[in-house]
Symmetry: C2
Subunit: 459 residues, 2 copies
């Protein structure tokens, strides 16, 4: 009997096997991600430049392209024990339904109240803020998982938490606000009238449903104008991908126990936090030439940074108060159709993943949302987990790849990231059930227009 035939439905690592170090993918990249630039001077942002915005320790992590492994402080490890290790699930039921020879695995990060993997970085960022003696943090949230995660981490540590929530999500997910309030956070729909940039955007675009880029601007303004506050961000940044490496490290450890090597690794990509975390140790092997994996980023057709964006320096936010980042971008003014449900709405992409994609280490595909919800429903009915719309982008492509295996008869191992649950996405599910959901992708003209506004600096 082979090891693989004994694989349980869920592989749980022991508590002692939760990673005690994060893996810093950048250490193994030949072409490092490009540095942030000061939009005024065009110079790389230094430690001191970033101090008004971020905590000191997090800036160090942000700028560290060399240290491969970074210790996870004991307090963060203890917090991880509350909801980790996360299970690696063998999707036996889905395989049977699809009648595929492929073996499908998913790393499920939704078994915590934030409903997603976001908690992995939230606790780290809140911890360093607390350690620096700060009073509180500000942030933005799109689909709401990040805001919830940060609220939970702040409640645990006794930090203030102020969340700017993209208006369309705030309206589509009325109960997310109450979850955050349960954890003591304050939640403001963005663009708001509380900040200069919010007032300006509301004036220029009356009735706007907001965007992550705009909420980021507001949160940064709120942090830098309040004493003993800093700004924290749930995706895109190098530090976030570092923290999220626990996803991939755990997934790889679980697969290694059963000597399973994935052929294809699939993750949804908005700002890149889940995908970057999931693939980290696998990509490390690939970069070091030890192993090869097919790695696929899946993004919404309505916000196609990788597949239809350009690789260039751009503002990280709509209000242009943040540094410039070199990344795949649709232009910082890009706002996806309000018809687009759920998260993955960011105009840009993690600089790390952008560089890796640019260098050919991974692929990207975009999928339309009705096909995403069809996959979500099929998954829910067979695997028993109601997935987040974001995660369902990965499910869609995992199912497609498994069906290709059915045609070819190949027994491929497919691993995907199931980042979270869709309990707060029922408005979107309702639209899907009522056939009121459609697919609306930006036209070439719209993208050209929004990409034409890239800054001169750095490009």
């Amino acid at each position: 009997m082979s090891k693989e035939s004994k694989i349980p439905y869920k592989i749980y690592l022991k508590e002692s096997e939760i990673p005690s170090k994060w893996y810093n993918l950048r250490a193994d990249m030949k072409n490092k991600p490009a540095p942030f630039l000061n939009p005024g001077t065009g110079q790389p942002m230094s430690f001191d430049d970033l101090r008004p915005v971020f905590c000191d320790e997090l800036i160090k992590q942000e700028l560290d392209n060399d240290t491969a492994y970074i210790d996870i402080p004991q307090e963060i490890q203890d917090f991880y024990k509350m909801y980790r290790p996360a299970p690696l699930v063998r999707a036996y039921c889905l395989e049977k339904t699809l009648d595929t020879p492929a073996h499908i695995y998913y790393k499920f990060e939704g078994n915590n109240t934030s409903g997603s993997h976001k908690l992995n970085s939230a606790i780290a960022q809140a911890y360093y803020a607390k350690k620096q003696g700060l009073k509180g943090v500000t942030t933005e949230t799109g689909a709401g998982q990040w805001g919830t995660a940060l609220s939970m981490a702040c409640a645990y540590l006794g930090l203030d938490c102020k969340v700017y929530m993209v208006k369309v999500s705030y309206e589509q997910k009325p109960f997310r606000r109450e979850v955050m309030r349960t954890y003591g956070a304050s939640v403001t729909p963005s663009p708001s009238m509380e900040t200069n940039i919010g007032r300006k955007i509301n004036e220029e675009f009356p009735g706007t449903t907001g965007s992550l880029g705009c909420a980021i601007s507001e949160a940064v303004e709120a942090a830098t104008s309040t004493e003993d506050y800093r700004y924290v961000l749930g995706s895109v940044l190098n530090q976030v991908l570092l923290h999220q490496s626990v996803i991939g490290l755990e997934a790889k450890a679980a697969l290694d126990q059963y000597e399973v090597v994935p052929d294809i690794i699939i993750g949804c990509a908005g700002g890149g936090s889940n995908l970057g975390g999931l693939i980290a140790p696998f990509m490390g092997e690939k970069l070091r030439g030890e192993k090869d994996y097919r790695i696929i980023a899946v993004e919404p057709a309505s916000c196609p940074s990788f597949t239809r964006g350009v690789f260039a320096y751009d503002f990280a936010d709509t209000g242009m108060v943040c540094p410039l980042a070199k990344m795949y971008t649709l232009g910082s003014g890009f706002i996806p159709s309000p018809n687009h449900a759920g998260g993955l709405r960011y105009h840009g992409m993690s600089p790390i993943l952008s560089q890796l994609y640019h260098d050919g280490y991974m692929e990207a595909v975009s999928v339309e949302q009705t096909s995403v919800f069809a996959a979500a429903e099929q998954f829910a009915r067979t695997e028993g987990i109601l997935p987040a719309p974001e995660s369902s982008h990965a499910i869609r492509v995992a199912i497609d790849e498994a069906l290709k295996c059915k045609e070819t008869g190949e027994e491929k191992n497919i691993l995907f990231g199931l980042t979270g649950t869709g309990y707060f996405d029922m408005v979107a599910y309702e639209k899907y059930h009522n056939h009121e959901m459609n697919d609306q992708v930006p036209t070439d003209e719209e993208l050209q227009k929004s990409i034409a506004n890239l800054p001169k600096v750095g490009n």
Copy 2:
């Protein structure tokens, strides 16, 4: 180093340690639960009497007071592997916050999309319906967990599922309906105009917000008037407590691995499914005189069957279409104040638990909802899980007992059942946050009036 000092935050059994047999508590009861009576004849309901309503195999389980262990069919065991074993959690963070010498453990059943333990019995009941060649099942749901669980089980097995949802929950939990629809179920607010009994109740009590008892009547009517359908119920019944014994069996196995013996076992009690399941193996030891445990049922002060009801034969439903059950009851016409949030709204109680309570094997306390939500919020902020209002009744009393230990310095082991998550209860949490929630308990006069309507038969 003692074994206990090595207890992890979460104890997960291995997949191979998921129970392969249910434990039937009744086999160890000296005084068996009283049989259902035919309301017309006053005679115990026979297998044949029950066949129009329930599946054959489930009737056998319902009537079996003697077989201690009943095999769990392989198909159900396979389904259990999708979301079980459920973790037994050591509440280190809560202990620290309370600064108590008590050791607190909870069995967490909310890590599945139904959000509760209800799935344990839903899959069993759906399985036997399918095995009997039926087309579908009907049921009622209060807080919505049972309806969701049944929808999930039916989707997995390809059975039709028709749910009557108590109107107040239907309105307070608009998204529950969409979850059930995702799993292909049809959901009707109860009382509806679709059934005779629904129309009658709507006529007699215009504007009623419904009750479980009334939804049961409608579901039974719908099942018995549709070919190849049967009725299934998520609580109260002996068969349900049988299926739910997996909760207690797993909890006990996990505690046994670390040689932990609980001093106090606490569970919320609506119809009794969670409490009956959690305590099953412990109560078995108590009944056999092998061990002693303090066992506490916690119920809402607004629906106090144990603490203010009478032990008598009563209708299981408002419409009086069901058999009579001997149980603690507030009268089948009792409807809790619409001000009461969430579940635990049933006028009666499991006949098994009623008999055990009557015989002095367990205690019962009632708690008011504002104190329940205070406990829920404290728990969420320390343990990271946003609990269901129902589960939070048990949390309230577990915290109270832990605080008593703080006064006395006793290192008691407290085990409670955390039946589920509150992601669909944010309307209630919002009320609590906005200080719009109050405590409204029935007056003695109200209870006397509703209890005065007990049937003559059996009493």
